[in-house]
């Protein structure tokens, strides 16, 4: 197992290998993402029963929750990729980290927008300074910070390293932000407006959610791969294998 992991790691370090292997993965990932999305959405929008309190507005959950969860784990992945670059100088890791930032930020934005829209019918307002909302907003700012430093740094290597350092500092801080915000909010404000605690959901409601979750993750993988391939094309444009591929 360890050997296999090590081998995979070394292979992943090779842009050529990554480019060629993902060539074969893309259609499958696209199919899986598409089919799960269609199934999840059909089940969620058409077949799941309406919530007894919120009515049909709860159907926003099928995009809101997967996006929120993904936005958080994408940040972790970005930080890990950044750390790999800082420690082992693996170019592929830097490209992956660079590419995750805008995708993660997009999902973060989706979670925030859908949450805000959902808030209007349920809470009567677009925005409250609730713990989860606030920490999600801070996550968005962290993403923006990483993207901003990436594009501001002049040298390419510098931009990768700076983004990685910032992402790592952010990782230490995310739990602190989350904890502080939760603690602050529960003290300042009664739980009138907090999100529903782990609802014991009806399976008909839960299944579409799980399917959408899978779909979101696969979509994310697909987007990361697509963008990373572009990075590879650009950075390896002078290598013979890219030229050969172009000529054929």
């Amino acid at each position: 197992m360890w050997q296999w992991l090590k081998q995979l790691y070394h292979r992943m370090g090779s842009p050529k290998w990554f480019y060629e292997i993902t060539e074969r993965w893309i259609p499958w990932l696209a199919i899986v993402a598409g089919v799960t999305a269609v199934v999840g959405l059909v089940l969620g929008l058409l077949y799941a029963p309406a919530d007894y309190q919120q009515g049909d507005s709860f159907r926003i959950i099928y995009i809101h929750v997967p996006a929120a969860i993904l936005a958080q784990s994408a940040y972790m992945m970005m930080a890990v990729a950044g750390a790999v670059y800082l420690i082992w100088r693996m170019k592929m890791a830097a490209w992956v980290a660079k590419v995750i930032a805008p995708i993660g930020a997009s999902f973060c934005l989706i979670a925030l927008l859908t949450g805000a829209i959902w808030g209007k019918p349920t809470w009567g307002t677009w925005w409250v300074w609730d713990a989860r909302l606030t920490s999600m907003l801070m996550l968005l700012f962290l993403y923006f910070g990483v993207m901003a430093i990436q594009q501001a740094m002049e040298s390419e290597d510098g931009s990768y390293k700076a983004a990685a350092i910032l992402a790592l500092v952010g990782v230490v801080n995310i739990p602190i932000i989350k904890y502080s915000v939760e603690w602050w909010n529960t003290l300042h404000q009664p739980a009138t407006l907090t999100l529903t605690e782990k609802p014991s959901m009806h399976p008909d409601m839960l299944w579409p959610l799980l399917i959408m979750l899978v779909s979101t993750y696969v979509l994310f993988a697909l987007l990361v791969i697509l963008r990373t391939r572009n990075e590879i094309l650009w950075h390896e444009r002078k290598r013979s294998w890219v030229k050969k591929m172009m000529e054929s």
């Binding site: 700012f141 430093i149 501001a152 510098g158 350092i165 790592l168």
Partner: protein, 222 residues
């Protein structure tokens, strides 16, 4: 080590020769706090409720602004390049610079904060909590800030980018500190929050210099 000590000394001389360096954050602090009553509502009971929060927001912004020049001048005139070229530990250098920064920004803020408390009708019970939270909290701001300053040191429009990078990281400090002052004001215990700030300070001292030193190195290897 001798270079680090020399740098700390030099930075104090520079601050003494250029009083704006420590006087300006102070004035900014006072003025932000003075803007509030003007923009919002000068009613004393209302002010006394928000005083702690406003003072902390003002302290945070004042620190943030003074951070921009922390490394920029040194990068521009080549003296940071000399530090790196000297082969001395950048970790110690970063800690030294953060110490000086705190002495000329956070410390004066802490010392004048009671004056602001008066202006904003801070409840009498909250003074100690305010000074204590500033004394423990502002060093965290200097340390976290030095990471941001190091990351943006060689960028032309670094000042505001720094804000973007660092502000989310400041949120926990702000929350705990403001809540300490608030709780003290309504007569509740606040040692939990102060202890939390203390823990964050310890963590910041241990970790941030690594990040800042790495960031400086990459800013210099052009």
């Amino acid at each position: 080590m001798s270079l680090v000590i020399a740098t700390v000394k030099r930075d104090f001389i520079l601050a003494a020769r250029n009083p704006g360096e420590w006087a300006n954050p102070l004035m900014f602090f006072l003025m932000v706090a003075a803007l509030f009553p003007l923009a919002v509502d000068p009613d004393p009971t209302f002010l006394s409720k928000i005083a702690g929060g406003v003072i902390w927001v003002a302290a945070l912004l004042a620190t943030l602004l003074s951070l921009d020049s922390l490394y920029r001048a040194d990068v521009e005139d080549g003296s940071l390049e000399q530090c790196l070229a000297s082969g001395e530990s950048m970790y110690a250098m970063v800690l030294g610079k953060a110490l000086v920064h705190w002495c000329i920004s956070g410390l004066p803020l802490t010392l004048v904060s009671p004056l602001l408390g008066l202006m904003l009708h801070l409840p009498d019970e909250a003074y100690i909590a305010m000074v204590l939270s500033l004394a423990v909290g502002t060093p965290i701001l200097s340390l976290l800030g030095s990471v941001g300053a190091a990351l943006t040191a060689s960028l032309s429009s670094g000042g505001l980018l720094l804000t973007l990078l660092i502000l989310p990281l400041y949120i926990p400090v702000l929350i705990f500190a403001a809540s300490a002052v608030y709780h003290a004001g309504i007569g509740m215990a606040y040692n939990g929050q102060i202890a939390m700030l203390g823990a964050m300070l310890a963590l910041a001292i241990a970790l941030t210099p690594f990040a800042a030193a790495a960031a400086l190195k990459l800013n210099l290897s052009r």
